[in-house]
């Protein structure tokens, strides 16, 4: 790492002893990025911004929140009413979770479209899936904290899934609960873990960045950077582009936080938890609905749980399930169509998950579930072998340079 000559003397003094400035310069300024990244590449930095927002608002909520079954609901309402700007902090945190998932889901589908998981970025992708799992655990436990009806019954339904494990299932559930039902010990441990996991996410995000900076970003063409004419320094080009994208994001986010803060929420969660009254429909938060649909599509409880976890586990294997050598769907006409079918399939799963398992929903849920696994386990390996990709451009700058050369 060649240290740049910093003008400021203090900066030079510090950098000589603790090379943080060289590090930043290297990772931001020198770091070459492909020049053709589209706006789909904004979602990584957006996810990072939202993670920071979640931690900051979470720390302030934690100053006023009481993790006890008798006080939790009232303490959240007190935050909403009596803490200065408490309503703002809480609505940002509550909707931030939804926006976090929207961003990360787009980020993941971006990766699937452009084959971002392919060599040499397999570990980068796998770390991303680990982040997704940690986010899911964090959001699930966070949703329990306000101790409304959905908090309580959602926690009951989801923790009960572990009872499907043969022989030790019930013992595991008792262990998770810290008792014989979801109760104060459960709330306390969920709070503890809800505070801890976001910092684990930060750690995995750092590893994700280390892996990213090893080979740099992929790009919409899916071909490697061939030389300096293909790349530009991250700063100021992508800092400017990411900042603009963040502005657009904040407009959408503020629109929901200030004008429809309960858009993603369930009215039932404004009713205090009551173990004696089961709500008519127990539904998880929207970002869990597709998994919930997969769980319920399978009549056997244990197999359902396995399928649900399997739906995420296949993502770990994706770099090896996809046998195509071309990365970007731009040059894979058949894969491109199936990609969109998968997107629709996931939306259908989400819709089925939001509805009671009756009538048509059962059949649609089963077909959509089967299709989900078909896509990853059968279609991708086979398609990669038989599909004839379109010819790839010579280099990233080639398609841009060619017409210019023609003119000369």
């Amino acid at each position: 790492m060649a240290a740049p000559a910093f003008k400021n003397g203090l900066v030079r003094w510090i950098d000589h002893r603790l090379p943080v400035f060289s590090f930043l310069h290297h990772e931001l300024h020198d770091y070459p990025s492909p020049k053709n990244l589209s706006y789909w590449w904004n979602f990584g930095s957006l996810a990072g911004i939202v993670l920071v927002i979640m931690i900051v608002t979470g720390v302030f909520l934690a100053m006023h929140y009481t993790p006890h079954t008798a006080y939790a609901f009232d303490s959240v309402e007190r935050i909403m009413r009596d803490v200065n700007y408490g309503w703002l902090i809480r609505y940002i945190h509550m909707n931030g979770a939804s926006f976090f998932f929207i961003i990360v889901y787009i980020h993941i589908f971006r990766g699937m479209y452009y084959g971002s998981y392919k060599a040499p970025r397999e570990l980068l992708w796998i770390l991303g899936v680990v982040i997704l799992l940690l986010m899911m655990a964090t959001a699930f436990m966070g949703y329990v904290l306000p101790w409304g009806q959905m908090s309580f019954w959602g926690a009951t339904v989801i923790t009960n899934l572990f009872s499907a494990i043969p022989l030790v299932g019930d013992a595991i559930v008792t262990w998770l609960w810290g008792g014989f039902s979801v109760d104060n010990p459960t709330l306390n441990r969920f709070y503890s873990l809800h505070y801890l996991l976001p910092f684990l996410i930060v750690a995995v995000v750092m590893l994700h960045m280390v892996a990213l900076h090893r080979f740099g970003s992929g790009n919409p063409l899916g071909i490697d950077v061939k030389g300096p004419q293909d790349s530009i320094p991250f700063h100021p080009y992508y800092t400017a582009k990411d900042a603009f994208g963040a502005g657009v994001f904040f407009i959408a986010f503020a629109g929901v936080v200030f004008f429809s803060p309960n858009l993603f929420g369930e009215p039932d969660n404004y009713i205090p938890a009551n173990p004696l009254v089961t709500p008519p429909h127990i539904v998880p938060e929207w970002y869990f609905l597709p998994y919930y649909a997969i769980l319920r599509a399978i009549p056997d409880k244990l197999l359902g749980v396995i399928a649900m976890f399997g739906s995420i586990f296949v993502l770990f294997l994706l770099p090896w399930l996809d046998t195509a050598r071309v990365r970007s769907a731009k040059f894979r006409p058949t894969y491109r169509k199936f990609f969109w079918v998968l997107v629709v399939d996931c939306i259908v799963l989400g819709y089925v998950g939001a509805n009671p398992p009756e009538g048509w929903f059962i059949l649609v849920g089963r077909i959509a579930t089967a299709y989900y696994f078909f896509h990853f386990l059968i279609l991708l390996p086979v398609l990669g072998l038989i599909e004839r990709p379109l010819p790839l451009p010579q280099s990233i700058s080639a398609p841009v340079l060619k017409p210019a050369e023609g003119k000369a």
Partner: protein, 250 residues
């Protein structure tokens, strides 16, 4: 893309079918506090508070409210002291170790009609009059639903037999509700000359309950407009900056 559109159409069709199965959806009302610029109509809030006090407070608590919160619906310090003083609050123990009753203060919570759930059920044929302080946020349909229940006492349709002590209601889930019709025409003497029809009282009390559910609604929307304006300008500038930075690349 075509596939996407047909899939969306399919979803919408499912949605319509699901809605039809769930039954009467309360009609949407016009609320002063809805929309981006919505604020609570102060006169309606105060009338609504009066309706709550005189027609609902005998059964329903609003446990999240303190008397001091009434400042938010336009009452002055002295009015609030007077309103609070009408309530009897259990306090103590005093120096002799005894509980005692005293007049309410602005810092007290709204006094609730029943000491606990069992007492509330015992006084209402076994049904529980729910705490109303969050009710417009805690029901699908929100204020429209609550308005629907309050005005939805219609003739029991032929062929429906009600259980003992129940009333027929067009919008309450299952249609059988233990609450007797709580509003009567001119049941509440309005001071400001507004005619106290059942609809007007319902409108006013629901406005009051919507405020009770979220007293910070106005502050939220006012701040939201400023924040959005700022963000739009800032994003415009960021866009210009991005264009400038990238000008030499394309």
């Amino acid at each position: 893309m075509r596939r996407l559109i047909s899939a969306v159409a399919l979803l919408l069709a499912f949605g319509a079918a699901a809605e039809a199965a769930e039954g009467a959806k309360p009609p949407a009302q016009h609320w002063s506090f809805s929309g981006i610029f919505g604020t609570f109509d102060r006169a309606s809030l105060q009338r609504g508070f009066q309706v709550y006090k005189e027609s609902c407070a005998a059964c329903h608590a609003v446990n999240m409210l303190f008397y001091r919160d009434l400042k938010g619906i336009g009452y002055q310090e002295d009015d609030i002291k007077a309103i609070a003083a009408q309530a009897k609050v259990m306090d103590g123990p005093n120096d002799a170790g005894e509980m005692f009753e005293r007049a309410g203060r602005p810092s007290d919570k709204f006094v609730r009609p029943f000491a606990n759930e069992n007492a509330a059920r015992a006084g209402n044929n076994g049904a529980l009059p729910v705490d109303l302080s969050m009710v417009t946020k805690a029901r699908v349909g929100g204020p429209d639903y609550v308005y629907g229940v309050l005005t939805g006492y219609v003739q029991t349709p032929a062929g429906v037999t009600l259980m003992e002590g129940m009333n027929y209601n067009a919008y309450f889930p299952g249609h059988q509700i233990a609450m007797p019709p709580p509003l009567q025409a001119d049941g509440v003497p309005y001071q400001d000359g507004t005619k106290a029809t059942v609809e007007q009282q319902a409108k006013d009390v629901v406005t009051f309950l919507a405020w009770a559910s979220e007293p910070t609604l106005e502050a939220r929307k006012q701040m939201g407009i400023k924040v959005l304006l700022f963000l739009i300008v800032m994003t415009g500038i960021l866009y210009a900056a991005k264009r400038k930075v990238w000008a030499s690349v394309h």
